[in-house]
């Protein structure tokens, strides 16, 4: 079984938290959306922060 990146989920499987992120945090702001996506990739679980 191959390793599956948790973020690489089906497009139909947008989680409730993703919805909250879009509606309450990002609020249609393209900059914040891109920043959110960037942080999702940079701050990987297991990294030494």
């Amino acid at each position: 079984m191959e390793d599956i990146d948790n973020k690489e989920v089906s497009d139909t499987a947008i989680s409730e938290d993703d919805e909250l992120m879009l509606k309450e945090v990002i609020q249609d702001d393209a900059d914040l959306y891109y920043l959110h996506h960037y942080l999702s990739e940079v701050l990987q679980p297991g990294d030494n922060f």
Partner: protein, 194 residues
């Protein structure tokens, strides 16, 4: 194996092996995020749909030409293509009228057109990652806490609220202020995320 459970990299490998449908699965998987991003930037559904189509046409062409080298981070790569397509759209619009950067929606995080990454680009990108991590350390404690819990520990907002003793709305508000503050600091440092 069910294609739904395959990684992006595995789907790409399948496409390279001759399964032409695999790339459709990839596009479908990421379509909402890419559409959302484009729509937020151009704020016009029809224009956004055109740019969305152009984005994936270009992505498939680059893949077909063997120029996809982004270490499996397919969504990031497609978002960069989408970003460039939007920049091209606004440049074309400027020939007819003046569009402010605020209208264009890319005044802070992307005034530069993203380029294909070279080895040097990757070194720069790594340095920017380090800089962004340092900026996170400068956030107010309650904002830094929610950023790390969310992105680093992958906690839900309910879990963050429970752990920090606040409501979900407060946790969401702290996350929003954290992103807004990070955006401000990134702008002050003249960083361009890539």
């Amino acid at each position: 194996m069910n294609v739904q459970s395959m990684s992006d990299r595995a789907l790409l490998d399948r496409y390279f092996s001759g399964d032409r449908k695999a790339v459709s699965q990839l596009i479908e998987r990421h379509s909402r995020r890419v559409r959302d991003y484009i729509r937020m930037m151009v704020k016009d559904s029809d224009v956004a749909e055109d740019i969305f189509q152009d984005t994936f046409i270009k992505a498939v062409r680059v893949i077909d030409e063997g120029r996809y080298t982004d270490n499996g981070k397919f969504l990031s790569w497609v978002l960069r293509i989408a970003h460039n397509q939007v920049i091209d759209y606004f440049r074309a619009q400027r020939q007819n009228k003046t569009v402010t950067e605020a209208e264009a929606g890319y005044d802070v995080l992307g005034t530069l057109r993203f380029a294909e990454k070279t080895v040097e680009d990757r070194m720069v990108a790594h340095q920017i990652e380090c800089d962004v991590r340092a900026l996170i350390e400068l956030l107010p404690a309650e904002q830094r806490e929610v950023v790390l819990m969310r992105y680093f520990s992958c906690l839900s907002f309910k879990e963050i609220a429970d752990k920090t003793g606040v409501s979900i709305n407060t946790a969401l508000g702290r996350m929003r202020y954290a992103l807004i503050n990070l955006r401000r600091m990134i702008k002050e440092k003249n960083l361009v995320l890539c």
